[in-house]
Assembly symmetry: C2
Homo-oligomer: 152 residues x 2
Amino acid sequence: MDELPGALGTSASLSLRMGQTIFSSAALLFMCLDVEFYSYTAFCFLVTVMGLVIPWSLTLSLVDAYSVFVKCPLHQPGIMLVVIIGDWVLSFLSLAAACSTAGVTDLLLNVNGSHCPARLCGRYQLSAAMAFLSWFLSLASSLFNLWRLPSL
Amino acid sequence: MDELPGALGTSASLSLRMGQTIFSSAALLFMCLDVEFYSYTAFCFLVTVMGLVIPWSLTLSLVDAYSVFVKCPLHQPGIMLVVIIGDWVLSFLSLAAACSTAGVTDLLLNVNGSHCPARLCGRYQLSAAMAFLSWFLSLASSLFNLWRLPSL
């Protein structure tokens, strides 16, 4: 059985998962360095979603690392299906969080600039950008695994 | 070849497309009844995306109606692929627009209530809800067509 790069248990998948973990941690960190985020619903949503994405990506990167280094590939359609659906749902949530954060940050910057010091708003923008990158990598993982599913 | 309900050219697909057209038109209408939306980036984005979704859904509902009433089903993988990718992209854009609109409306309502009369903000909320419904139906269409693709 040939290994599709990017499917669960390959080194490409390991790097995708590492990227997701790094970007979602960065999004969480940029948002949480101050406690200001607590007053905006969109920012709380981002923190919640990133708090779900980090353990998920971390767990799957451990599974990938085990599978790559011990040379024991996973070929169970049930597990793959759970991973695909989880990635799918988390990618939608990440996109939703990133978009609402970007929208709110843009509003804070443009309409009432006094509400948001430039330093703080720059950090919110970085956080939204990191959440977008995390969404993109989750979606890529999900698509690679979906592509792989019928051949199992 | 059995017809999967919801795939291109069935009556279920026709009703999905009609729903998309109605919900996206409603979202556009609720947003555009005043010209206030022009000052917020997120609302302009929603209007742009809904302006893309409406002709797309309308065209595909015409194709479905033709296919249902003339009994001439479409079985070309190329067309299906274009439809799936288009639905996919538009569903992501709809979700992004709905989330940023919802985030911005929430901010306008809670943080600085004076910026937004209740009547206007209620309309923005309705518009975001309609965009969410339109996203959901686009995603359903895309998934049904994707499910159908391998059997063509």
